[in-house]
Structure formats: structure tokens, C-alpha cells
Symmetry: C2
Subunit: 170 residues, 2 copies
DNA sequence: GCACAAAGTTAGACATGGCTAACAATCTGC
DNA sequence: GCAGATTGTTAGCCATGTCTAACTTTGTGC
């Protein structure tokens, strides 16, 4: 699923990377805390990694949505949906093109590459699972949507599976 | 500063501005507009806001931890825990000092201000709740720690309450 | 088919967050 | 109390993400 993507979307996209950085132990001595420091240390690595990709994921997911709903993805619409200005979008789209997630021609709307499309699909899947999970927990849809938007980039495959199972059996 | 927290944690407090796009239906299930676009549009605002504060939150939380565990928070330890280089920490600490979350003197270790302390406490609380929730869902502790680190900055108070309740009754 | 509006781009400013290299201060072990 | 190791700071580089201002292109209406 994720192996044709140009990035290491390590935090979420690769289900079996859970051994990657947990063995690193910078703290000279973890005192009698019941919550070992090394766990947290390792966690930061993954989070920083994930943060680097959040924006790209938001973009491709949104672009896919716009194409689906309106037939095309125009910078002006992307900007409106994200709540940023058009030049910001333009610059970011350049980056995404450079990274092979989209293609674009000057003054024309944006298209996803195969990589972009599969990233979008993956993102959408995560989004849906998180959203359904939150709603099945009893959260109102507005808050659920907002929280899902933030959370979706930070859930591991393992957690996603639990969320999914929980939502199904509710 | 309104309350004793230096930032607006607007991730949860942004009112839903339902003005933008019309309906569309990306989800296969919904008949017409079960999940209106405006929900997602609004969500991005909050997420971007939250992202701006994540790093500061990570820092103060970690600083509080270091002070608790080792008596002091030194840049070298912060750097090791976060997995970044010391100059990066130094620069970020300058910013946090500028923002009134910490105090520091040259070549000495770092202290939290009252604002910093209450932010740290708040973050720790969120972290604990998310972590306990994930574990009570059945997630292994290592993954739970990693996911909690990413998720904690993006859960609304409402979601947190649900998480907390769920973890308690398990 | 022209003029104007809307959309897109480019340039440039600014803050952040990461890095390395070079230097300064502090701490430690004789 | 001094030398060397460790720690911390400063300077400077780069990429990103945001903005505004100015310009260009596209598209529309008449």
C-alpha cells in the first residue's frame, strides 16, 4: 500500500516499523518513575517525522476531494478550504510537484500523480476510521471532524485497527 | 494573557464557521450531505493553530519531567530526549523565554515560569489521559506512548472527557 | 474582441525549526 | 588550580510555511 510513496511516511504508513527507535536510551538514568523515559524519547522521533508530512497529506487529501466533488482542484479552492492565502498554496503546490505527488501546469488546476493518489487514499482511509471511531465513542460530529483532522496523522496502523474494530462492534 | 496559559488552545475553541462551500459527498455511504465540507474546512483552522503550539508544549512538558526526575533541565538532556542537536534546543529555549514560558540564564539550566508550569501540567494531564485510553483499548505500551505523543496536542476537551471515561470504566 | 474581474504567479519579508562550525564557559580530575 | 572534557552559545546556512504587494494570465460579459 505505502511502498510506492515517495516519502517515508513512517509514522502511520508502514505498519511494522514499531521497533525502529525504541531502543535508544539517552537518559543516563531513569529514576523510579513508573513511566520510563526512553519510551517518550523514542516517541518524539516519530512525531517529528509525522509532522513533516502532515501538510502534504492534508493537501493531497483535499485535492482528491476537490477533484472528486468538483471535477478539478484549483488553488483558489484549496486556499479557501485550508484557510490560507493563494500564494501560500501556490508555493506549497510547487513543493508537492517537486516531490512527485502532484502535477501542474501554469495557471491550470492540479492533478494527483499515482503516488499522490495512493497517499490521498491512505489518508482518507485513516481519516474515515478515526472519524467513525470518535463518533462511535459518542462525540458530536463537529468536534469529531475537528479532532479527526488533527489525530489522523498520528495514529499507528495498530491503533487504527483497534479504532476500526471498536467502531464496528458499536 | 487571558488566563494563566500563555497560548490560546484554539484547537478546541474555534467556533464552527459554516459559511464556505456548498454540499458535496465524498463518502460512499452518505446520501446527500452527511458530512458537509464546511466541517472539514473549519477543522483545518484549528489544526494549524494547534500545530503552532506543539513544539512549545513538548518542550515545557519535557522540562517539567526533567526537573522532576533529575532536579534540573539542561539543554543537553532536552536535546537527547527530543533527538535534536543542542543548538536547536538553545534557539527554541530562547523563543520559549521570549514567550514567558521559561526563564534561563546563560550557561545555566532552565526553569519554568508559572505559565510554563501550568502549561506543562495541562499537557501532562492530556498525555496521561490519552495514554491510559490507548492502553485500555488494548494497545501495547510502546505504540501507545508513541501515538499519545502525537495525538495529545489534537484532542479537544470533549474528546478527552470521553477518553477518560472510557479508560476508567475498563 | 475588448475591458474588467477573477485566478494564479512571483518576489520578498518574516518566523520557525533544523543543522554545522566555531567559540566560550563550566565542570572535573588530578 | 589547571588542562581537558563537557556543555552551552553564537553565527550562519537551509527549508518550510505564512503573509502582502505587484504583476500576469485566464476567463467573462457585453
Amino acid at each position: 500500500m505505502a511502498n510506492n510513496l515517495p516519502y517515508a511516511f513512517t509514522c502511520q504508513s508502514i505498519p511494522c516499523d514499531t521497533d525502529a527507535m525504541t531502543e535508544f536510551d539517552p537518559a543516563p538514568h531513569a529514576t523510579s518513575d513508573d513511566r520510563p523515559a526512553d519510551l517518550r524519547a523514542g516517541a518524539f522521533q516519530g512525531v517529528r517525522e509525522a509532522r513533516r508530512n502532515e501538510l502534504a497529506e492534508d493537501y493531497v487529501e483535499l485535492i482528491a476531494e476537490l477533484i472528486h466533488d468538483q471535477g478539478e482542484a484549483r488553488p483558489v479552492d484549496i486556499a479557501a478550504r485550508l484557510g490560507v492565502k493563494v500564494p501560500t498554496v501556490s508555493k506549497t503546490l510547487d513543493r508537492l510537484a517537486r516531490e512527485g505527488l502532484i502535477t501542474r501546469a501554469k495557471y491550470r488546476s492540479v492533478f494527483l500523480t499515482d503516488d499522490g493518489r495512493s497517499l490521498a487514499k491512505e489518508c482518507r482511509r485513516r481519516h474515515e476510521i478515526v472519524l467513525r471511531f470518535l463518533i462511535s465513542l459518542g462525540l458530536d460530529p463537529v468536534t469529531a471532524e475537528r479532532d479527526a483532522e488533527g489525530i489522523e496523522h498520528h495514529v499507528s496502523e495498530r491503533t487504527l485497527a483497534l479504532f476500526s474494530a471498536f467502531a464496528s462492534r458499536s
